[in-house]
Symmetry: none
Subunit: 262 residues, 2 copies
């Protein structure tokens, strides 16, 4: 955690508004997932519920980040100067340590794997997700560039492992999915890599650009965009997969034993 | 973002009460849509859910606008003078960038188009809606009249495009709708143009009337009325269409395969 730089009031407003935008989006996504879970077959309902839980938790953390950012600055005469209060970016890590394992869970659940395979994936990837976040955190707290790089590199090991396993697993199960759902699984596979790649890049902004308003804006807006797509956007694709699969099974109930009758 | 003018305490109260009224209406609309979604057939349920999500997000933003307005003024002796705190009108843009694409989505979903047609509309109109809001935002941040006019003009291009396409699309599908639902689609078509026209007009008040209490009141009350009708009012018509269609399909279940049984 480095001291905050002086920033222009426009930079302050853009960051503040980005936090508010992401909070509002998570709020809307939470309502959507939690009321829409009944619209999918029972077999996929837990997956959609987990999508809802993830965005509720994310909404809470963005509310805290928004409040913390506002109290960390005083705005007067077109300039925002640090108030002395801490801008607690660690809320992000508290968020990730809960939600990233859950993001892995929702994808594994919606794949509809046999239970032994599902368990094997969960036992490997959930601990890896914990390790990834825990290893990133010391670098976030440090002000020393070498230390930041060290923890960045260490966190990248489980990061690459999780993406590698999940990408491979989705590629393998695509063939077994109904033809109507296969394009959505291809979207998930790309979305997974594309959205997760934001994080190690956003982490590097303050390391590469130093303690400037630009680095602060890029880092925070980068994380905001990444969180939004990796949680709400990705959750929406999971929901669409669950919905499509439910509709298909409703048309051919004999093909699949589990059909929602709510 | 211009400096706020001194205003009378009456003007202050009228604006403050308008914000509170709109927040309360959105809150009520959110409860209505979210509990009533189960009353429509499965095929239209997502449309009504999106109506609910839109007003939840709008309620959040009106709460923030209300609080921001109150903290931006101090009232004493019949006069409200700026406190030095920013009146963050950008919350409106953060709202629109999420909700306007969703308003387009709810209309397209309730039309019950074949999926290729629906996808084509979504792929064209949702990005146009993003572009429209993003192009309006720099004008809102600027204090220079020429800059404000420039961004107003640029935002008008996707604005006209969206209205033109949606108006045409609704006109085309009216024939295919059950006779009992056609009048409601005509209401949607008019409501779309009538409510959306408020926005470019409200945008112009501070440009045309300058930095006065009257401009502040007209702009904010104009946006409040527009938001209320374009989100809650329009959502209500969407809900009525979904409900009427569901009732008709329940009477003639063979005509449509997807009928809610829950």
């Amino acid at each position: 955690m480095v001291d905050l730089p002086d920033i222009s009031s426009t930079t302050f407003s853009v960051i503040e508004n980005a936090f508010s935008l992401v909070f509002a989006s998570f709020l809307g996504a939470a309502v959507f997932f939690l009321v829409s879970r009944r619209d999918v077959a029972r077999a996929y309902r837990t997956s959609v519920t987990v999508c809802g839980v993830v965005v509720v938790i994310a909404a809470y953390h963005y509310f805290r980040i928004f409040e913390s950012f506002k109290s960390a600055y005083g705005v007067a005469g077109g300039v925002a100067t640090p108030s002395g209060e801490i801008f607690n970016e660690a809320y992000r890590y508290m968020d990730w340590i809960i939600t990233v394992p859950l993001l892995v869970v929702e994808l594994i659940l919606v794949m509809g794997l046999v239970s032994a395979r599902r368990r094997s994936l969960l036992y490997r990837l959930v601990p890896a997700a914990f390790a990834m976040i825990a290893l990133g955190y010391p670098g976030e707290l440090s002000t020393d560039v070498a230390t930041q790089w060290l923890w960045w590199g260490l966190a990248m090991i489980p990061f690459v492992y999780i993406l590698f396993v999940l990408f491979g697993e989705v590629s393998k199960v695509i063939q077994d999915q109904p033809i109507e759902v296969q394009p959505l699984f291809r979207v998930v596979r790309v979305a997974l890599v594309a959205t997760w790649m934001f994080y190690p890049i956003a982490y590097l902004f303050p390391i590469l650009l130093g303690n400037t308003g630009l680095a602060l804006a890029l880092e925070n807006i980068g994380y905001a965009v990444a969180d939004l797509t990796a949680k709400a956007g990705y959750g929406l694709v999971i929901f669409l997969i669950a919905k499509r699969k439910s509709e298909l099974e409703r048309l051919v109930p004999s093909a699949q034993p589990v059909v929602a009758t709510s």
